[in-house]
Symmetry: C2
Subunit: 383 residues, 2 copies
């Protein structure tokens, strides 16, 4: 292992691409004639393919969950603190898979991909994608990796919703499901925040009805606004207060519209960097997937009925200061699982980071993940 | 009283204008050479001018607090449920005054007024206004009305902050202060929401650096976004859930970017109507006044010291589901007042309307206001 990469890292990794040359029919009625799925894997698949774990990413996440791309990489994958040799999701034990979701902008077929019908990027013509569609395409990836059953499907936030949908839709294809900082559906307030973000993006004159690529521009302001707003909902009031408080950028008040407080500076920076890194049409699609997620809606709005076919054992984790998907939302999932007589473990973690807590190495959180994963490891043969 | 106006209304009212032909030096260091204050009054000032109440308005409020302008008016002033004959703030007992704040857009001198130096509207050249500046200009109005001492200064939200500043800055000029759904300063999260709103307005290409008037346009999209976002913070998650839930606009899901949920439709409507009614430069100024409000900052961040000179008796009211200025924020005020040995009454009202609750006729809330005002009325002679 090179000097500059930590010993408990999966090390240098590289993404793979699976090309699927047959159509996928989407929940909204449209279909894609063919598609690519970009993914990474860490660890070794064992002989009976019984040690595979699927990680599902959240709104702006991607397939790069752990490790480094180059020796110069400053930052590892987005969940490197959980995945690696000896870590909670131990790559000495498990074969870990994460893909960029369909509709994404990091390599899997999405709005920036070429539409074979027009030979130009899909842009806004890319069809609406739902959590069900993701589960369907993730199952195609599993088939291609010869994984009939995941030992666990794991996700935080929108990733937790995918994990939940896996357990509901394909109950025999996973043994455990881990849903972190998730909710069984969005509240009106959640949808409202998404709608503000969408309105900001669509209202940017550089959006061009989604055809910004052909205008050789990006809706930087709109996407930046969406990101600023997102950040507010990912952080708790407490975390923002501790991190920024009312600290002034220049030491004294200037009575003007330039940055006065550190929090303004932080948000402006977040806004500017994000708009260069993420596709606006993908952002719109992700917010719609969130809005539409509502597994109980197929069961007369009865979540207990919705989860009644689940075979997986369930771990549900929430964070005290998460106000995007509060502990009460996780408890809705837990209560439904209990009512349906499922095997469920629930932990509410004291944490001040708000919704973002699921990405932080909070000791009690990682201890619980670690203990749960150890139990799973004992059920499978090492690779 | 005409048939169509309720008997407990102050009836038909009309605003007055006070022109002040001497300069006001503002906290930020700039000054206005002269200015207008538009205000309304209800009830009669008694002989010794001891029954006057000042109502301070919030971010998008104005001087039209009660009554109707015409017989055709569909809506009365914004706090008509509290102010009128026999109501909590009884106009048979009290002389009620409310003005449009300096920097406003409803008649008092603000960004839409003509700058005497250029003979064009101030627009973005209008100086930054603070809560201190408002108290100062409100005191000028009081002087002109021959009111040396208000029997009460009352406000909700940003209005409550003005009331608090009155009690701190001009302690001998008010006998009671009523601070509703207020906070002693904004949190980082509060500032963050304001910054998103400002970024939306300033990023609208129709904003033209604030000179939209000379371009014969309005930053409708930006101001609309700011308003949408504001609405989310004014309402509780609960209130939004009860009012809109996940109800679909068209009965079934359409898998597209048109309105799917009722909440989206509501926000779009709010956004569109507001942008025609309110000035964007004023909106920016109001958010800055909120950001800057921090009376403890002049007292080594010690709120107890800041309130130590208060002579007024204090009533503080908060609402359980208000997450913009939560009950904890009101309790900070109460605790400081108690530490400083002030006379303070505190009520936390069970209400599901969020921050907006202060505008609703919630029985326990109005009962408390009513009882408190009855006590005040007993201290003054009737007009």
């Amino acid at each position: 292992m090179p000097d500059s990469i930590p010993a408990d890292s999966v090390g240098l990794v590289s993404p793979q691409t699976l090309h699927i040359d047959s159509p996928i029919i989407l929940e909204g009625g449209k279909s894609l004639p063919a598609y690519d799925l970009v993914f990474e894997t860490y660890g070794q698949l064992n002989q009976d393919a019984s040690n595979a774990i699927l990680i599902c990413h959240a709104l702006s996440g991607d397939h790069h969950v752990a490790g480094y791309y180059t020796m110069e990489d400053k930052r590892p994958g987005w969940w490197d603190n959980v995945i690696g040799p000896g870590k909670a999701i131990d790559t000495n034990q498990f074969f870990v898979v994460c893909l960029n979701n369909l509709g994404g902008c990091k390599g899997s077929t999405g709005p920036t991909s070429i539409n074979p019908e027009t030979n130009t990027p899909y842009g806004p013509d890319f069809p609406i994608i739902t959590v069900n569609d993701w589960v369907k395409s993730q199952a195609v990836l599993a088939d291609n990796l010869n994984i009939h059953q995941w030992v666990a499907v794991v996700g935080g936030s929108l990733g937790g919703m995918q994990a939940m949908q896996w357990a509901i839709s394909l109950p025999e294809r996973l043994k455990h499901v881990i849903m972190i900082a998730a909710a069984p559906k969005l509240s009106a307030q959640n949808i409202a925040f998404n709608e503000v973000a969408r309105t900001a993006i669509k209202g940017d004159p550089d959006f061009h009805e989604g055809y910004y690529a052909s205008h050789d521009t990006l809706p930087r302001k709109g996407l930046g606004l969406a990101r600023m707003l997102g950040h507010i909902t990912y952080l708790s009031d407490e975390a923002m207060g501790e991190k920024f408080g009312r600290e002034l950028r220049h030491g004294s008040i200037n009575y003007g519209f330039d940055v006065e407080f550190q929090i303004e500076s932080y948000l402006r920076y977040q806004s500017e960097t994000f708009a260069e890194q993420f596709d606006a049409n993908t952002y719109l699609l992700m917010t719609k997937a969130l809005d539409y997620f509502d597994p109980a809606s197929d069961f007369q709005d009865d979540l207990t009925k919705a989860v009644s076919e689940i075979q997986a054992k369930c771990l549900v984790i929430s964070f005290t200061t998460d106000w995007r998907f509060s502990p009460e939302r996780s408890q809705e999932i837990v209560n439904a699982l209990l009512s349906a007589n499922k095997d469920v473990t629930y932990a509410e973690i004291e944490a001040n980071q708000g919704h973002d807590a699921f990405l932080f190495p909070i000791p009690r959180y990682h201890d619980i993940l670690n203990a749960y994963m150890k139990k799973i490891a004992s059920e499978v043969t090492s690779p």
